[in-house]
């Protein structure tokens, strides 16, 4: 079932178009990676999906039961000041804000949900710790947990592994993979193309002149993707291609 359908979308600020004519579809259970060079408008696209940038033309259609404020969002590098006093629990709970209007207290159901989600991403022990004292990998898991509190249907991550060391990055990726297998639909903007290719079912490449959307397999064999072809690609068509290249030489 399609969860999100973007058709001929153009976005920009103050009359200046930054991304134009984008189309892609995300089905339930997909893992879509959005990749592309700096300055091609990936972050603008994310803001557009969240409804923070008004669209010039085109359409963003969300399936029933999902709204723009119900997308679990993990933003690009959190700008939290270094000594912000906030406990992990306080931050996780703030993920529920889209579903309540006002009030000092969260409901019992929300508290139970948060406890379960904290267990799920492995931060139960950190519950009462101060956010700013945690390591980068732990902080990202806390913010992921907050995004999951907003919804467990569709989460949108904007370069979630920037600034993480390789171990923390791979831990974060495997957590994402597991969540995806459990049914969470993931859209991730990433600089890390190899990581993105390993994890995702679909790729949206946003280039300066051309863009591409398709399954990861299609991407690897497309014109834009073939430059970053993984070595030793097991599929038949690649072997075939290699042979052709050799023969031509």
């Amino acid at each position: 079932m399609s969860l999100l359908k973007v058709q001929n979308l153009s976005l920009g600020y103050e009359g200046k178009v930054i991304v134009s004519d984008i189309s892609f579809t995300v089905n339930e259970g997909d893992f879509l990676s959005i990749i592309g060079e700096n300055g091609t408008g990936k972050t603008t696209l994310v803001k557009g999906l969240l409804g923070l940038v008004s669209k010039h033309s085109g359409e963003i259609r969300l399936s029933e039961g999902v709204s723009q404020s119900h997308i679990g969002y993990l933003g690009q590098k959190n700008l939290v000041s270094k000594d912000f006093p906030a406990s992990v629990y306080e931050i996780v709970m703030s993920g529920f804000l889209n579903s309540k209007r006002f009030g000092l207290f969260y409901t019992k159901k929300q508290k139970q949900e948060a406890t379960a989600l904290m267990e799920r991403v492995g931060i139960t022990k950190l519950r009462n710790r101060t956010f700013s004292e945690l390591s980068g990998g732990q902080q990202q898991r806390v913010l992921l947990c907050r995004a999951l509190c907003a919804t467990t249907k569709l989460i949108l991550l904007d370069e979630p592994t920037t600034g993480l060391d390789p171990i923390a990055t791979s831990e974060f990726y495997s957590l994402l993979s597991e969540l995806n297998k459990e049914g969470v639909t993931v859209i991730m903007v990433s600089h890390d193309v190899t990581g993105a290719i390993k994890m995702s079912s679909h790729i949206f490449y946003l280039g300066k002149t051309e863009s591409f959307f398709g399954s990861t397999h299609q991407y690897l064999h497309s014109n834009v993707g073939k430059d970053i072809m993984l070595q030793g690609c097991p599929c038949d068509s690649c072997a075939h291609k290699e042979k052709e290249v050799k023969q031509n030489a």
Partner: protein, 273 residues
């Protein structure tokens, strides 16, 4: 000991002082954490300029001129800071010193009866019936906003990007905070003084952050610290003649800040051991 309350001006000062302390502490936590501390300082100077001009123009209650002017200034200062321009802090410094200069200039013109000393460093005697009404209304408003929207205030302060993504109108919160700050400063500055009121906004939050590591505890601790300092300052200035109340309150704030800093070092040290 309690003969202090037999003077009606002291009772007024206590009421306004405690209420302003509560507002300053609550708003201060947000302002400090969002790195808007300079706005508080800038607003007090604009408030001084506006009060002086209003007094020179012979308005019966200068407060009614100062309030809208400072609210407007709060909005503009917020916009300057929000845009994240490199020279936002420079712009605020420019606005504060200009407003201060205009105030001093106007107040020095012959034939006016403005007491500069009182405006700069505050006076208990400046507190009138008007201030009580405004500060009660203001405190009720600040408390109501804080309690009803506590979770949203936390979200907007902690991570504006995420808050906006979940559909919170963050600019409404920012404007609300800066307008409430404007009112707090205009009411508080006449008692505490232009030069000292911003300390009341910044100190309690910073002091609490030395020891408290959760948002809710920082908020509660700030209110306690702030109210304690105002009460202690009022008593001290009453029993030691001629000690200005504004300065005394700031000195109490400084002392508690240093105490909390020492305690946080001790806590860190003992943890390491």
């Amino acid at each position: 000991m309690l003969d202090i309350f037999s003077y009606s001006f002291m009772v007024n000062a206590f009421i306004v002082g405690v209420l302003i302390a509560v507002c300053c502490a609550l708003l201060g936590v947000v302002l400090v954490l969002k790195r808007y501390s300079m706005i508080g300082d800038g607003l007090s100077h604009v408030g001084f300029g506006a009060l002086s001009v209003a007094a020179v123009l012979n308005f019966s209650t200068p407060l009614y001129i100062a309030l809208p002017v400072v609210m407007l200034a709060a909005y503009f200062l917020l916009r300057i800071t929000e845009k994240g321009r490199v020279n936002a802090d420079a712009a605020i410094a420019l606005i504060s010193s200009s407003a201060l200069a205009i105030g001093v200039f106007v107040a020095s013109i012959n034939g006016t009866n403005i007491d500069l000393q009182q405006y700069m460093f505050g006076s208990i005697l400046a507190v009138g019936q008007n201030d009580i009404i405004i500060s009660v209304v203001l405190t009720v408003l600040v408390l109501a906003v804080y309690i009803l929207f506590y979770n949203k205030i936390f979200a907007v302060t902690f991570d504006e990007g995420f808050a906006r993504a979940t559909g919170i109108h963050t600019s409404v919160y920012n404007i609300a905070v800066s307008v409430l700050t404007a009112v707090t400063i205009v009411v508080g500055m006449r008692m505490l003084g232009t030069l000292l009121i911003s300390a009341l906004i910044i100190f309690p939050a910073l002091t609490s952050m030395r020891l408290c590591k959760r948002f809710i505890t920082v908020v509660i601790s700030s209110v306690i610290v702030s109210v304690f300092c105002v009460i202690a300052g009022l008593f001290t200035s009453f029993y030691f003649d001629d000690v200005p109340v504004g300065a005394t309150i700031v000195i109490y704030n400084l002392a508690i800040f240093l105490l909390f800093t020492c305690l946080s070092f001790i806590a860190k040290f003992s943890k390491k051991k």
